[in-house]
């Protein structure tokens, strides 16, 4: 039980006795940890999609998913630290995402015109 002692710091009321509230206390008090777990899960979904999908457009959509996960973490930390720097940073994440979408999609269209295929595995001419 001692190795899980951090749980008590995350949710101070995760006591052996059940809370008397309408929900278990860990469910009715949202901490920074909840937001970070959501963000991490979304990031991992994005990574899995990026690794498994073969359609180039969907692969870039998955990078947007990862940007989004980072944004949630930024905003959660911004709220936690009570300043606006995290929110400001999300603006720049949005900027980079927009720039990346423009360039990457132009490249994808070029590739499609050349290969008539959106398969990411089709462009392997440089492979030895």
């Amino acid at each position: 039980m001692s190795s899980f002692s951090f749980l008590s710091t995350l949710a101070p009321t995760l006591a052996p006795t059940l809370a008397q509230g309408p929900l278990p206390q860990i469910m009715s008090s949202i901490t920074l940890y909840h937001y970070l777990v959501t963000s991490a899960a979304m990031f991992c979904i994005g990574i899995i999609g990026f690794l498994t999908r073969r359609n180039l457009i969907i692969m870039f959509l998955c990078t947007e998913l990862m940007f989004q996960a980072a944004g949630i973490a930024f905003i959660a930390f911004s709220r936690f630290h009570m300043n606006h720097t995290g929110e400001t940073f999300v603006i720049f994440v949005l900027t980079v995402a927009a720039a990346e979408a423009a360039i990457a999609l132009a490249l994808v269209v070029l590739l499609f015109r050349r290969k008539e295929s959106l398969d990411g595995g089709a462009s392997t001419e440089l492979k030895g």
């Binding site: 008090s29 959501t38 457009i57 969907i58 959660a76 606006h84 929110e87 050349r114 290969k115 089709a122």
Partner: protein
């Protein structure tokens, strides 16, 4: 709404939605402070489910639309975190601009359906690449991240109220004046001087006052007095948009310029790339010639920009 038959699923969904809403309402009435927490679970469940659909759906257009749902749900999360400006900017920029670009490209770059096969799914949309290994890697990463968060977070200290900073209000005379007048703290003829005042000899801060900021008020006859923060009316707070604006302009002016340059470069790059004339590579050209020999009607011609698609298996010589 055009509909063929009222599906039994529809009634089920409606009943489930109403029941869910009643449960939420009941819980909210019983414990009103916990309502944002319920919304946290709703929004994050929607966001995660929709992002799962993004990576599992076979049709790229649906993937993009599910990504819009993810964006909407995470802007709901932003709203719970009281980041209103970023929530709406997210909807406008992401769901409004970036996703539309994606949809355009998906429609430009998908293979046109032929007469006999009206909805054909390409092979690279149907078959994934190394799903088991990728999922394993994803779960390892998720486990590592959550463990690190759980171990490290107790060491992260939350910021105090000082950082949230209503001190910028001292600069905003136009916003502050009507509020002060309504609260009776500003008499007729008095104006707020937009300047930063830090009281050092005013005395000890009162309860709940973590800063010594004050608003400088100038009377008609030129006499100045200070209104310390402890006496500000509670309705006078800095809104989220104003806070982001002050943070952006005061703390990160260089980053705005760099962001502008990045956007300009991206625009130029996209224009340059899109103007480029490309030819089909050998494999696609051969496929197009073979199709033409076989008598398939190829009205766009083999060297047109969006000729008829090949087999979907490019370049594997």
């Amino acid at each position: 709404m055009p509909r063929k038959n009222a599906s039994p699923y529809l009634f089920g969904v409606i009943i489930a939605g109403v029941a869910f809403g009643m449960v939420m309402l009941g819980l909210g009435l019983k414990n009103p402070e916990a309502v944002p927490n319920y919304y946290f679970y709703i929004f994050s469940a929607i966001a995660l489910a929709a992002s799962l659909r993004v990576i599992t759906h076979q049709r790229p257009v649906y993937s993009a639309l599910y990504f819009v749902l993810t964006i909407l749900a995470s802007s709901g999360l932003y709203l719970i975190l009281s980041a209103e400006f970023m929530a709406f900017a997210l909807i406008i920029v992401y769901a409004g601009a970036i996703l539309i670009t994606y949809l355009f490209v998906i429609m430009l770059a998908t293979e046109a359906p032929s007469e006999e096969q009206s909805d054909i799914l390409t092979e690279y949309d149907r078959v994934s690449r190394e799903p088991l290994a990728a999922t394993f890697a994803g779960f390892i990463l998720l486990a590592g991240l959550t463990t690190l968060f759980a171990v490290g977070l107790p060491n992260v200290k939350p910021g105090d109220k000082l950082e949230a900073g209503d001190r910028q209000l001292a600069f905003m005379s136009r916003k502050v004046e009507p509020i002060l007048k309504q609260a009776g703290l500003l008499k007729a003829g008095e104006t707020v001087v937009p300047t930063r005042v830090e009281i050092t000899s005013y005395g000890m801060p009162k309860d709940g006052d973590t800063t010594l900021d004050a608003i400088k008020i100038k009377a008609a006859d030129g006499k100045e007095r200070l209104l310390p923060r402890a006496e500000w009316p509670p309705t006078m707070v800095l809104s989220n948009t104003e806070g982001v604006a002050f943070s952006l302009i005061n703390n990160h002016p260089g980053a705005i310029e760099i962001a502008g340059v990045i956007l300009l470069m991206a625009m130029l790059g996209a224009v340059v790339l899109a103007r480029k004339k490309v030819e089909l590579d050998e494999f696609a050209l051969n496929a197009a010639i073979a199709r033409q020999r076989a008598g398939v009607d190829d009205e766009l011609g083999i060297d047109g920009p969006f000729g008829r698609p090949g087999t979907g298996e490019g370049g594997a010589a």
